[in-house]
Amino acid sequence: MKLKGADMFWETLIREGIDTVFGLPGGAVINIYDAYPKYKDKVRHILVRHEQAAVHAADGYARSTGRVGVVLVTSGPGGTNTVTGIATAYMDSSPVVVFTGQVPTALIGNDAFQEADIVGITRPCTKHNYLVKHTEDLPRIIKEAIYIASTGRPGPVLVDMPKDVIVGEAEYVYPEKVSRRGYNPNIKGHPAQVKRAVEAMVKARRPLIYAGGGINWSGAFEELKKLAETIHAPVTLTLMGLGAFPGDHPLFVGMLGMHGTYTANMCVTECDLLIAIGARFDDRVTGKLEDFAPDAVKIHIDIDPASISKNVVVDIPIVGDAKVILGQILEELEKVDIDWEKKHREWFEKIREWQEEYPLSYDKSADVIKPQMVIETLYELTQGKAYICTEVGQHQMWTAQFYKHIYPRHFITSGGLGTMGFGFPAAIGVQVAHPDALVIDVAGDGSFQMNIQELATVKQYNLPVKVIIINNGYLGMVRQWQQLFFDRVYSETDISCQPDFVKVAEAYGIKGMRVERPSELKKALKEALEHKGPVVVDVHVDREENVFPMVPAGASVKQMILEGPKTSENGEALKGMRPLNFPS
């Protein structure tokens, strides 16, 4: 059967089980869009208003389902606008496939209209990328791209399609299998290493499970829970891992790292066995490396061999898929007969002390709305059942801390790259994937304005996304650093010159609400969540509230600032805690 490249594109996506494409047309891909109506019953195209949002939406789709998210954009600026989205997906290992149009092969390198070397530009932030040279290669490359994006350590793949390849005609051959001799991810853990890991668990008196986003991608939720319960070990999660282990489980000690709980960071500091699973010892997690789990034997389970001993040298590396390896460990543990609870009793006594000493807290007596109160109220109203997306900054950390993340793949946030403007388009992707679910974007007033144009997208498709703006009129996290470490010089962080978000929402034909008093908060949020369509709620909060605990950048995780400076003297004391360096 002879097909045009444009038809091959849709045909192959459909055969690969892709049901949604996020995109925005342009000259180089106009033929693909021209062919689209023939396929629209089988695959849905969501028209966004900016290409960056298309990638974040596909990313949200992928994170909330575990399946590949797909993007289609045009050449030149269409491609370059996707770069932040691609880099975001790359840092958080999200399987997104981005298709870009390209100028005709004969014009490549000629500085043609809307030409950009997108393959060159995205080489450092994709798992792999392609420039398609011949129409007949399209089906194979599309299949490979989806395969590479979604297997091993997932990641974004970009496919650049010159116009002549799209317009050209060739025999359609859909390959049944992908075979790449340079790509063969390791799935099963080495049995000897699994045995060594179990031996270390038997020996340990103070173990800690430290799990990350790898649990989500591997789908190892049950296995993780079973491991923790079997060996009766406390569990801490990274930002990317939240929800991978139930946030209301008695063994859960909270998130660790820069804004982790006191307990989690103390557990890391004092544990004698650290079981890292699908986490990569990021600088926001470890703080000063020498003081990170200094006395612990370290087990590291990861599908990416390059993650192992990258930042922290580990004792027992196990390369492979978390779900499979945890299965192997659980099997091995069946042969062990000890009273784990008794073995770890002293450890838990200490943990309970830490928990009582410094639980997460904030001042509830205030007559302004405290941002943490907004998050707690959202939890109360949803009982953890909503999909929660966030932007990046203070509101993100408060959402990580004060919302109990109970269900896997329900917390969608940009961790590695820290992309402001991620949450709202990501929420669009989540809502498209789960039409009947409650999807909330907890936003900052700064972040929301970075992709605010997508209000048109939620209106067009009537996607009932709830945007809750934690509005403090600042680029809040930077302001917090300025307050704590830069003598309160709020250099260029005041963004109180801002639009009336209610009117903005209304201008797009969407319900807008404003909340200014603590007494109105719960009622307003309830009304917003019960509203059938999309809604924007502008919640005015305490402008100078800070995220605590906080480990200054470059300090050890045990050096937490637990509360803000109340007096100028206290502020003086904090000067000694200036960040040692800004991790690049």
Partner: protein, 178 residues
């Protein structure tokens, strides 16, 4: 694992089999520049199988950095096989070819020819003023030749970068573990 001192820095020769496709070298170069690794020399050529190229790469770093480099190279989809020859414990031969253009006037002319002979070099180009001498060997031999030829006056040197092969019947093959 950032370590700034030069103590413990090792030089490693790494052999790679890669897909013979455009962009593969760019991927490797991007990796080295993005991660701040250093390429001391690199040479690329087609193998018996025209779909596969072989790269010999010399790099340096602390053992943990070298380990990362090898792992990161393996992550590149177009890289089929990576062998750190230096770390492998296997014997291998390393060779490099250099073209040295030396001044060859008066007494230097005879001296340059003698040095070329001692190092079993070939004079591949002659002009009234210069010789271009081709010398092949390991690093020590080439460095020794260059330092002697300096006496004659070197106009320029052109080095290929190292190539390396395992000794004995063993060879780098696509199949089998990486």
């Amino acid at each position: 694992m950032q370590q700034k001192d030069n103590e413990g820095v090792q030089r490693h020769t790494i052999a790679l089999l890669v897909e013979n496709q455009p962009g593969v070298l760019a991927r490797i170069a991007t990796l080295f520049s993005a991660k701040g690794y250093n390429i001391l020399s690199i040479s690329v050529g087609e193998t018996l199988d025209p779909t596969v190229s072989r790269i010999t790469l010399v790099t340096e770093g602390h053992p943990l950095i070298i380990e990362q480099i090898v792992k990161q190279l393996r992550k590149i989809i177009d890289v089929i096989k990576v062998l750190d020859l230096t770390a492998s414990g296997m014997d291998y031969v390393e060779r490099e070819l250099v073209l040295v253009k030396v001044s060859a006037r008066g007494e230097a002319r005879a001296e340059a020819m003698r040095i070329a002979q001692i190092f079993r070099g070939n004079i591949v180009d002659v002009s009234p003023e210069t010789f271009t001498i081709e010398i092949t060997g390991n690093e020590d031999k080439i460095n020794a030749a260059i330092s002697l030829l300096k006496e004659c006056g070197i106009r320029e040197i052109i080095r290929t970068g190292k190539v390396a092969a395992l000794r004995g019947p063993k060879s780098l093959k696509i199949s089998g573990g990486r």
